[in-house]
């Protein structure tokens, strides 16, 4: 579904990504991990066509560069790490923005667009908040509203940049489970950046470890999440054990490094 080869991005004077490859099959979940500033968000933006990049990106076997903006938006939905939330807008209006690629340029939304938005809000526990203003929400509520907008887009590819950083444990699980269900039921292809390595290993089929703008490891969670790799690239002292389902669990070790 996504095939990116040799993607490089220059921002200003700096080479932020160099020669990164990513291959995600339909219905798969890949988590992009790496320390702050590694280029994770930039990689998602490149996939979304929001930054100038070199290298080739295929979305659904079509060169991404040739897709028209609306067609691309129907194919890929993106929830940014630091979204701009217009404080005066209602939660419903904001989530409804996700339907933009389906609404004619000067037209208005259809009943179907409203239904989709409503059901997404309900699924994210936001039904009660629908008529509240976005500026009045808590951090976690905001994050779910942004996710709602992305889900309302009903695109087969979902790019989520840190979708759970502000969420409490229960909502974190709820959001990740929801994405996982959608992926299984509708065959969504998911790419998320995640800082919680255990969570990344728990939900993703594959991990891509970025460091300094390069892909330094990729593959199944148990192959990528090694004490050695995490220690080196995150500069952290950790202990990694297989959890009950065999997936790696990352523990911080006190006193290091």
């Amino acid at each position: 579904m996504i095939r990116a080869q040799d993607v490089s991005v220059r921002l200003g004077e700096r080479e932020v990504l160099s020669g990164v490859g990513l291959h995600v099959r339909r219905g798969e979940w890949t988590a992009v991990i790496g320390p702050n500033g590694a280029g994770k968000s930039t990689l998602l933006k490149a996939l979304m066509g929001l930054v100038r990049h070199r290298g080739e990106i295929l979305l659904d076997s079509r060169p991404a560069a040739t897709l028209k903006p609306r067609a691309r938006a129907r194919l890929v939905a993106y929830a940014p790490q630091a979204p701009a939330l217009p404080p005066e807008m209602t939660v419903f209006d904001y989530a409804l923005l996700g339907r933009t690629p389906y609404i004619p340029y000067l037209g208005r939304e259809s009943a179907h667009d409203r239904e989709v938005t409503e059901s997404v809000l309900d699924r994210l526990d936001l039904g009660e908040l629908a008529m509240r203003r976005v500026g009045e929400l808590s951090g976690g509520e905001r994050q779910r509203v942004v996710l709602a907008r992305a889900l309302a887009q009903e695109a087969p590819v979902l790019l989520l940049d840190e979708p759970t950083t502000a969420l409490d444990l229960g909502h974190q699980q709820q959001v990740l489970e929801l994405v996982d269900r959608l992926r299984r039921a509708d065959g969504l292809t998911v790419v998320t950046t995640l800082h919680d390595l255990t969570v990344a290993g728990l939900y993703a089929d594959a991990l891509l470890l970025l460091a300094g703008g390069r892909a330094v490891a990729a593959g199944e969670p148990s192959q990528v999440l090694t004490e050695e790799a995490v220690g080196r690239h995150f500069d952290a002292h950790v202990k990694i054990e297989p959890g009950p389902d065999g997936r790696p669990v990352v523990h911080l070790v006190r006193g290091g490094p």
Binding site: K45, M48, G49, L50, K68, P69, R70, A71, R72, A73, R74, V76, A77, Y78, P80, P83, A84, L85, P86, E88, M89, T90, V91, F92, D93, L96, L97, G98, T100, P101, I103, Y105, L106, R108, E109, R114, T117, E118, L121, G127, E128, A130, M131, R133, Q153
Partner: protein, 344 residues
């Protein structure tokens, strides 16, 4: 059960209320404190003017003539200009994602000011050249700022556009001041123009109407798009919208509206900022609400401002631009206080 969520839109009730206020203001504008004419007679007279048949208002031909030749065009010009400035202001605020943007942000005022000053100085006897000069000057100022902003920065970025507007404004204003210094005897006329006047008669109305119609239709159609722009260019792109294109179209229409308003009425301040804000406070922040209600509310506001301008010092007239600021500022503060919200 929670109330069913609905997308924001100008609800018929709100539109009806706004139209009611507008109709009442226009009626008051037509009456203008004349003791011998009753409101009902004016209503009848208006019905008589409409092309559906004859209604006897009982007004003398002289009174009819006064209403038709002087007050009616004046009220209508005030309404059209007020509506245009308010809707253009709202559009500028949407495009620049800045609630303090006004229709003169991109050099329209400075361009019109310079061109009009030049027209007054170079063609002192031809009053007819002023609207044309103001119109061309306003569009010229915006064009200059837009081109400058787009060549200096990232295509269509808003920050550089605003800065270009600032640069163009001070540059053109400097030239205007320079020209004025050498033609002090014309200063009075330049200032009279700057402070605004909607008493130009039917001619002015026909001048402004085509531009008013086209630009307001285009702007009203872009309400949803301005909502999309409010999440920023990058996220708008993620939703399949080319922000720079939307911005160009909206700026074009809003600048046309501004130029048309400036051409017939000079530089009337405050309408473009106050009215959209009052609407936002009272009815909601979505541009699908703000644009149509600003159009109607701006019309009502300027009709009333003109009424004040004509009556407080009668028979002398205050410049309407002075009234909009003098009345507008406290009114604005009042609305802000009334709708005060906990701001963090």
């Amino acid at each position: 059960m929670v109330t069913r969520a609905r997308p924001s839109r100008a609800r018929p009730l709100w539109v009806a209320c706004a139209l009611g206020v507008l109709a009442a203001s226009m009626l008051a504008g037509l009456l203008d404190g004349a003791a011998d004419i009753s409101p009902w007679q004016v209503v009848l007279q208006v019905a008589d003017w409409l092309p559906f048949g004859h209604v006897d208002s009982g007004l003398a031909p002289v009174e009819q003539g006064l209403l038709f030749e002087l007050r009616l065009p004046r009220v209508l010009v005030a309404a059209v200009v007020g509506g245009l400035l308010a809707v253009a202001g709202a559009a500028y605020q949407g495009v620049f994602r800045n609630p303090l943007a006004d229709p003169y942000l991109l050099g329209a005022a400075a361009g019109a000011g310079l061109a009009t000053t030049a027209a007054i100085v170079l063609l002192p006897s031809s009053a007819a050249s002023i609207p044309l000069a103001a119109f061309v000057g306003a569009l010229g100022g915006v064009f200059l700022a837009y081109t400058l902003g787009n060549t200096a920065g990232r295509a269509g970025g808003t920050a550089t556009l605003v800065l270009a507007g600032v640069a163009v404004t001070s540059f053109l204003t400097a030239i205007q001041t320079f020209v004025q210094q050498f033609n002090v005897e014309e200063l009075q006329r330049v200032y009279a123009w700057i402070l605004g006047d909607v008493g130009g008669g039917w001619e002015q109305l026909w001048l402004v109407l085509p531009y008013a119609a086209v630009s307001s239709v285009v702007l009203l159609l872009h309400g949803r798009m301005l909502d999309v722009l409010s999440v920023g260019d990058e996220e708008a792109a993620g939703l399949g919208v080319r922000a720079a294109r939307v911005r160009f179209t909206v700026l074009l229409a809003a600048s046309l509206a501004t130029a048309a308003a400036v051409a017939v009425s000079g530089l009337i301040g405050f309408v473009g900022i106050v009215v959209p804000h009052v609407v936002r406070r009272l009815a909601g922040g979505s541009y699908r609400i703000v644009l149509p209600l600003s159009l109607i509310g701006g019309a009502a506001f300027l009709v009333l401002a003109d009424l004040v301008a004509r009556t407080v010092l009668a028979p002398a007239e205050l410049p309407i631009g002075v009234v909009t600021m003098f009345v507008g500022a406290p009114f604005f503060v009042g609305v802000l206080r009334m709708t005060r919200r906990a701001v963090t």
